[in-house]
Structures are given as structure tokens and as C-alpha cells.
Amino acid sequence: MSNLPLLSLLIWLPILGGLLVLAVGERAPVRPLALVVSILTFLASLLLYTGFDATTAAMQFEERLSWIAAFNVFYHLGVDGISMPLIILTSFTTVLVVLAGWEVIKERMAQYLAAFLIMEGLMIGVFSALDAVLFYVFWEGMLIPMFLIIGMWGGPRRVYATIKFFLYTFLGSVFMLVALIYMYNKAGGLFGVLDFHQLQLGLTEQVLIFLAFLIAFAVKVPMWPVHTWLPDAHVEAPTGGSVILAAIMLKIGGYGFLRFSLPITPDASMELDWLIITMSLVAVVYISFVALVQEDMKKLIAYSSIAHMGFATLGFFLVFSILRNTGELSGAAMGIQGGMVQMVSHGFISAALFLCVGVLYDRLHSRQIVDYGGVAHRMPIFAGFMVLFAMSNAGLPGTSGFVGEFMVILASFKANFWYAFLAATTLILGAAYTLWMVKRVLYGEVTSDKVAKLQDINGREFLVLGSLAVPVLLFGVWPAPLVEVMQVTIENLLAHITVSKL
């Protein structure tokens, strides 16, 4: 392994690049500059994949420097099989977001691009931080650029949406902060996440800490019933903001469960797994019905995101019921793996769907399904992409959307037939809401003059959608590269959480 501080580079390159974009200002050619920064970051993140050792569960690419001596806080970075794919997803998505805003954003372009680049650095920081304070700093710091993105470039009700988004997530995270400080004192003055994994805690403590984490992560995921900020935020955010929200920020909640909740409070997770499973199944079934009746395309995809993230959280917390039911762990790994694959795949698919809506919105300035109809007649290439992503969203075999859902459903069979039954309804409901939307938007007669004048996608849009279609298909037929890197880490996680801390 080289001595290059790769993770620091991944965090600070986009942040400094973003500051540079701000500094050169609006008149300079900021778009190419931002694109170069984001591509460089993406290429650097590929080094993580090539240099990654999939045979060990230990943290890799570690960096550890003393940061705040008074509190024993370290600038401690490292990745394992869970965080590494998410970092690459982040850097990949940011490139697309920069491209997607190329002509669309008219005002304050430099600030727009800088906000996304700085946010990229902060999100990579969240995935790689191994010190609780560092994690929290990135986690909260992320809110500031997102708050500005929704509020400055969003739709008509953007102020309401962004303040709701900010306060909701801020409320969620402060309780986590209290829990982190509590554990710091328990651990005898250590803030290391890995130290917390080894910390012995009583059941009551664990339950309270688990609940504090649950508030933070459930808001972020978001899980039913604390999901109400998401449709508002998505609808009002500019396309790029929706993409980052759906593709990355939601995953941070799921990542939190794997990095914090499960390993730090295994006994509480076991006690309260029914709660998470119930919340997840409600998200899968009820929210899918809600998605069905949406009139607004972005809102529909937002609700579909909640349902899909319900799968991820379901997969993470099946472990304990599988253990209770069969006494062995074989299916449990599949649940967590399925959840992870679902998160990554949903990152691609939701980003793609939001970009598709963005393409339509840029032309017609409407997100309402009724304003469209027969788009396929005028935009055949676009229609091809949108159908592909819609199919993948519905979980069609051969696309990445299928792999994660299938693994989670298989694992839930081992846990409880009814879990699997309820989870599997998504195959019908997901198909219903996605395909019905596609039918109403793309097919049928051309409904209005505006639709009749539509131009098909240009080269830039083709590039953006095309580069998302590749991983969707690739992981659909060959998920091995993704599954293999996380295999050992997840087995290690399972071994850790099945040992009681009591």
C-alpha cells in the first residue's frame, strides 16, 4: 500500500476545489474547473477500489493524527468493505451532478458548483471518519451546503422545504451527539468508533443509545414515520440536489446503522429489531401505495426512494430473527449484503430517475404527470433510458434493482414467511407505480403542443444517462465485484454483533 493519504485527498480535493471555484467567481469558466475537480476526485476514488484488500475486515487506507488533544479526538480515517463502495458512488454521482447542471443553472453558477463540490468532500468524510467527533462534524457540516442548494436554486416552496429539511435532520442528530458523548465518558475518554464497538454496555444504556441513533439515522434514511421531509425536499430541490439527496444522503442513514447501531448496541438491536422491521415493512408496503397516487413525478420517485430504502433497513435487521428462527447465520449475511447492494443500486437508479425528470423539467418546466403524454414519440432515445431505469426501479431481473431486492427477500424467507410476503409485494407495487408513471408520461398520444415540440436529449444528457445505465446493467448481471468487496467485512460484522455485550 502506498503512503499517499488517499482518503484525505478524496475529502480535501473537492472541498478545496469548491473553494477555488468560489474564489475565481462567476465570470471565470467555472464549469470546466468544477468538472475537472470532480473527475479527478472520481479517478482518485477508483484507486480505493484497485488498492482495496477484500480478504480482510480491518480498516484500510488508515490515517490517524491527533486533532483535539483536550478531548482525545483524532483525525482518524479508514475504509472497509461497507464504506468503500459508497465513497466511489459519491464521487461518481458528483461528476454527473456537475454535468447535469451545465446549462440548466442560470444564476450563481460558481456558488452552485462549489456547494456540490464541498458537499462531496463532506460526504466522503462521513463515510471514512473513524472518530465520532470527526464523523459528527462531517455529518452536520453536510447540512449547510444542502440547505443552501435547496433554498437558493429550488422550486417555489423551497424555503419551507429547506428549513424543514434542516430542522428535521438537525433534531435527529443532536440526540446522537448526546449518545456519542455519553459513550466517550463510558469508554474512559475515547471517541474512536472502533473503541465504541468494543465498549461494554448494559441493556438499558444500549437501548437508549440505540434509540438516539435510531432518531438520527431514521430521519436520514428516511424511515416511516419520520420521512415527511423527504418528498418536500425532493420536489423543491434542483435536479442536482435531488440526485445527491437520493443517491448519497439517504445512504448515510443506512451506513450509520451498519457502522454505529448494530456493532455498538447489538443487544439493543436484537431487542428492538421488531421495531425496525415493522418500520421497514410499513415503508415498503404503505409508502408504495402512497407513491401510486402521486401526481408529481419527483414526489413519486421520492416516495419510491423511501420504499426502496425500507428494503435496505429490513435487510440489515433480519439477522436476529434469522438467528432465532434457524439458529445459524448463513442467511443473515445475505440480508445485510442485499441491503448494501440495494443501497448502491438505488443510488444509481434514483439518481437516474431524478435526472430523467430533470431532463423533462428543463424542457417543459413541469413535473406534473398530466402535463406529459406521448413523450416517446418525440424523444425516443430518452424514452429508452427512462424505461430502462423504470424497469430497474421495479426490480426487473437483469438490472441492479433486482439483485438487492432478491437477496433481501430470500433472507427474509429464512426469518419469517410473512416478512418475505410483505416485502415481496414491492415487486408488484413497485412495478405498478413506476410503470404506470412511464405509461402516462412516455406513451399514448402526444397530448399537447408543448410535448409535440420536445427535442430529444443532447450529447451531454446522453452522456449522463448513459454512464448511469452502464452500472445499472453491469451490477444487474454481474454483482460479484460489489458483493465480493463487502463479503469479509459483513461476515466480521455478523460475528461481532452476535456476541452479546452484556
Binding site: 491527533s66 483535539i68 483536550a70 437558493m152 434542516f166 440526540f175
Partner: protein
């Protein structure tokens, strides 16, 4: 008792400031209005030299002087340095504002210097009378400064309110001190502490004295329910005076809380802890909730101060060295943030126009992105969002509270800071999401712009590297 030269040396910063304040007072009479800047430069030079002297005469171990009425220790040195810094910034921000309004007079700066002398005496006091003298010197100067704009009705009203309530608070404090003298037979802080330590349990008289002292201190800090004067005074006073009241005196007030409650009445910790819990929770609740209803930025910042005082008290009531260090860190960083926020009001104001309504910040990002960003940093720092220094201030206070098993108090505190976040981000919303209605240029004084930028960046920079200041605060209390 013969006084040694060494004792005078310890008090050299105070003697220097006193001498210079008197000298400037006289010299200012002979300076014509158009070269008034000389007064200003002399005042700033006084502060710089005072800082150098303070560094030169600092002592490794606490040393008492002047018949145990004066103490020089790490805390005094550190706090004095920050008082100079914050005062100097306040003076600097004040100049263009005063010039625009024909208020650029020597008296403002001389009164400021005497007020600062009062603060220095407060932080170096080791005797209840010294504390009282310092406090009164500070307060009298502040009363006069609030009324500095003689022709303004609101200023005079604010000064009157401040004077009446401040006098009442001083009375409370003095009454408490006199009872303490009756109970312990001494006014030296160390002697009081040992007298209390020698007693079995705490007598009624002592508790009675404690109550009055806590009330007096709470008045001076502006903790609920003794906060009534804060919004009116902040709102009514000229902005540079509000800036001054809202920043450096908080540091001095923290110092006397430490000297009186921790050093002097440390034996009664179980008794004052409960009182501070009530004050802290009420301050957090009232400050944060009422701030939401404000449309005037100065009033909003006044209520925000009240909520910050609640946090500061949380650190003190933990009753551990960590807690005191956290409270000290909180106070210093709060002073830096407050100076910056009021400095922004001055930046946006001009002759005949006060930018003290929230609406006056509309679309600041379109008018001047750089200073909008500075204000954004200051607001997020006050809200306690990383990576700004305000987060570490809250983190260290919460840590201290949780360490002594008062998790519920930490939960209350974070709950109210979420409520508080609303009004800070509302200002960010006004600056970034709304369109400007006022296109006038901002203050162009280069010194003001430069220092305000440094101020904002310091809040961010200390957020990235808070370790140094935290270590200084811990070391100062050893």
C-alpha cells in the same frame, strides 16, 4: 503592611490602563475634531501595550498581592488577553459608525477604557470588595455609554432601565456579600472558602447569602428570570455600545462567577448547583423561544445571548475542572461570535440608517457574497453547527454535563438548541434566498472590512483547529 514593588509589578497592566485612560482623557481636550483619530490610535496602542505587559508579568503559579485583594493567575492572564482583543475589535468596528453620525468623540473611547479597567479588576479580584469595585466601575461606564447618543430618546430610555436594574442587581450582590461577611468573618475569597470548608453542613445565613449573590450574578449575566434588561438595552443602545456590552463584559462576568462561586463558595456547590440548573434551563428555554418572535436583529441577538448564558451556566454547574474549562471556552468563543455579529450590523449601516432589522439583510448574498458568507459562518456557529467553533463550545459543555451524570440536562440543552437553530437559519435564509431590496453600498472602511473578515474566518478556523484554545482554557484553570 508595606507594599512591595513586586506587587505593583503584578498589577502593572491595570496601572498602565488607568494611567493611559486618564492621560487620554486630558489629551483629548486639546485635540481638534478633525484629528480625533489620534485619540483612537492612542487607545488602540494602549490595548496593545497592555497585552504585552500582561504577557510580560504573567506568573507560573497564582500569586496574591495587595493584602490578598488581587490575584494574578493563569485564568486572569488568559481572560485579560481576550478582553483586550475583543475590546480592541469593538473599538475598531465602532469608529466608522461613530464618524458617520458625528459621535466620534474621545469620551466613547475613554469610557470604554475605564470599563475595560473594571473588567480587568474583576478577573484579577481575590476579594469580594475588589470584585464589587471592578463591577461598579464597569457598570457605571456602561450606563454612560448606553446614553452616549444624548439626543436619542431610546438611548436614554435604555440607559435609564439599565441603570435602575443594574443598581438593583449591585444592591443584591452587595447584600449577599455583607451577609457572607457576617457568616464567615472575612471578605477574602480564600478565607471565605476555608471558613465554609471548616463548617459542618451549610448554615442558613450562608445559603441566604448565596441566594443573593447568585441573583446578583444572574442579573449581570442576563440569565432568566433576571434577563428583562437585556433586550431593551441591546435594542436601545447605539450599535457599537451594544457590541461592547454583548462581548467583553461576558468574559468578565464569567470570571467573577468563577471567583465567587467556584473559588469562594465552592463548599456550597451542592446548593448553587441546583440554582444554576434552574437558571440555565430557563435561560435556554426563554432565550431560544422568544428569539424566534423577534424581527429586530439586535433584539434577536439579545435573546440569543440569554440562551448562550444558559449554556455557559451548564458548564459551570457541572462543578468539575472540565466543566469550568468548557464554560471558559464557551465564553471566549461566544464573545468572538457576538463581536462579529454586531460588527455585521455596523457594516450594513450608514449615516441615517440602522441595519438592525432582519429585513435589512435581505439578499446580502447578491449584494456582497463575501460578507454574507461571514455572517453565515457566524450564524451557524451560534447555532452550534460544525465545522464552526460554536459546535465545539457546545460539545465541551455537553461533555462536562454528561460526565457528571446529568444526561437529562444535556438533552434539554440540545433540544432547545434545535429550536434556536431556527432563528439563526432564518437569517441565513433572508441573506441567501431572498432578493435584495436595498442596493446601497456597505461600509467601505478597510479596517472594518479586514477585521470583520478575520473575525469570521477565525470562527471557522477555530472550528477546524479548536484544540489549541481548548488546551489554553484547561491549562489556565490548573
Amino acid at each position: 503592611m508595606p507594599l512591595e514593588t513586586a506587587e505593583y509589578l503584578l498589577a502593572l497592566p491595570e496601572i498602565w490602563v488607568l494611567g493611559m485612560a486618564c492621560l487620554i482623557l486630558v489629551l483629548d481636550l486639546f485635540i481638534r475634531d478633525d484629528s480625533r483619530i489620534l485619540t483612537y490610535l492612542m487607545v488602540q496602542a494602549t490595548l496593545v501595550v497592555a497585552a504585552l505587559i500582561t504577557l510580560a508579568v504573567q506568573v507560573p503559579e497564582p500569586v496574591l498581592a495587595f493584602g490578598n485583594t488581587f490575584i494574578s493567575d493563569g485564568m486572569a492572564t488568559l481572560l485579560k488577553l481576550f478582553i483586550y482583543l475583543v475590546t480592541g475589535m469593538g473599538f475598531l468596528y465602532a469608529r466608522p459608525y461613530l464618524q458617520d453620525r458625528g459621535l466620534f468623540k474621545g469620551e466613547f473611547y475613554v469610557l470604554g477604557l475605564f470599563a475595560m479597567l473594571g473588567m480587568m479588576i474583576m478577573v484579577s479580584a481575590s476579594h469580594f470588595l475588589t470584585i464589587y469595585l471592578g463591577l461598579e466601575l464597569l457598570s457605571l461606564c456602561l450606563y454612560a455609554m448606553v446614553a452616549f447618543n444624548r439626543d436619542s430618546g431610546t438611548c436614554s430610555e435604555a440607559a435609564m432601565k439599565y441603570f435602575v436594574l443594574g443598581a438593583l442587581a449591585s444592591g443584591m450582590l452587595l447584600y449577599g456579600i455583607s451577609m457572607l461577611y457576617g457568616a464567615t468573618g472575612s471578605l477574602e475569597i480564600a478565607a471565605v472558602a476555608s471558613a465554609i470548608g471548616a463548617e459542618e453542613g451549610s448554615s442558613i445565613v450562608l445559603i441566604f447569602a448565596l441566594c443573593f449573590i447568585v441573583v446578583g450574578l444572574a442579573f449581570k449575566l442576563g440569565a432568566v428570570p433576571f434577563h428583562m434588561w437585556v433586550p431593551d438595552v441591546y435594542h436601545g443602545a447605539p450599535t457599537p455600545v451594544t457590541l461592547f456590552i454583548g462581548s467583553a463584559p461576558k468574559i468578565a462576568a464569567f470570571a467573577i462567577v468563577m471567583r465567587v462561586l467556584v473559588d469562594g463558595l465552592g463548599g456550597l456547590v451542592a446548593d448553587w448547583q441546583g440554582m444554576l440548573v434552574i437558571l440555565a434551563v430557563l435561560s435556554l428555554a426563554v432565550g431560544n423561544v422568544i428569539a424566534i418572535a423577534q424581527t429586530n436583529l439586535k433584539r434577536m441577538l439579545a435573546y440569543s445571548t440569554i440562551s448562550h448564558v444558559g449554556f455557559l451556566l451548564l458548564g459551570v454547574l457541572a462543578g468539575t475542572p472540565d466543566g469550568y474549562a468548557a464554560a471558559m471556552f464557551y465564553t471566549i468563543t461566544y464573545a468572538l461570535m457576538a463581536v462579529g455579529a454586531f460588527g455585521m450590523i455596523i457594516l450594513l449601516s450608514r449615516a441615517g440608517f440602522e441595519a438592525d432589522e432582519l429585513e435589512d439583510f435581505r439578499g446580502l448574498n447578491a449584494r456582497n457574497p463575501w460578507f454574507a458568507f461571514m455572517m453565515l459562518i457566524l450564524m451557524f456557529s451560534m447555532a452550534g453547527v460544525p465545522p464552526t467553533v460554536g459546535f465545539y463550545a457546545k460539545l465541551s459543555v455537553l461533555q462536562a454535563v454528561i460526565q457528571v451524570d446529568m444526561v437529562w440536562l444535556a438533552l434539554v440543552a440540545v433540544f432547545f438548541s434545535v429550536i434556536g437553530a431556527f432563528y439563526y437559519i432564518r437569517l441565513v435564509k433572508i441573506m441567501y434566498f431572498d432578493s435584495p431590496t436595498d442596493e446601497a453600498a456597505l461600509q467601505s472602511n478597510p479596517g472594518l472590512r479586514a477585521v470583520l473578515s478575520v473575525n469570521g474566518l477565525a470562527v471557522l478556523g477555530l472550528g477546524l483547529f479548536p484544540g489549541g484554545l481548548m488546551a489554553l482554557c484547561s491549562a489556565a484553570l490548573l
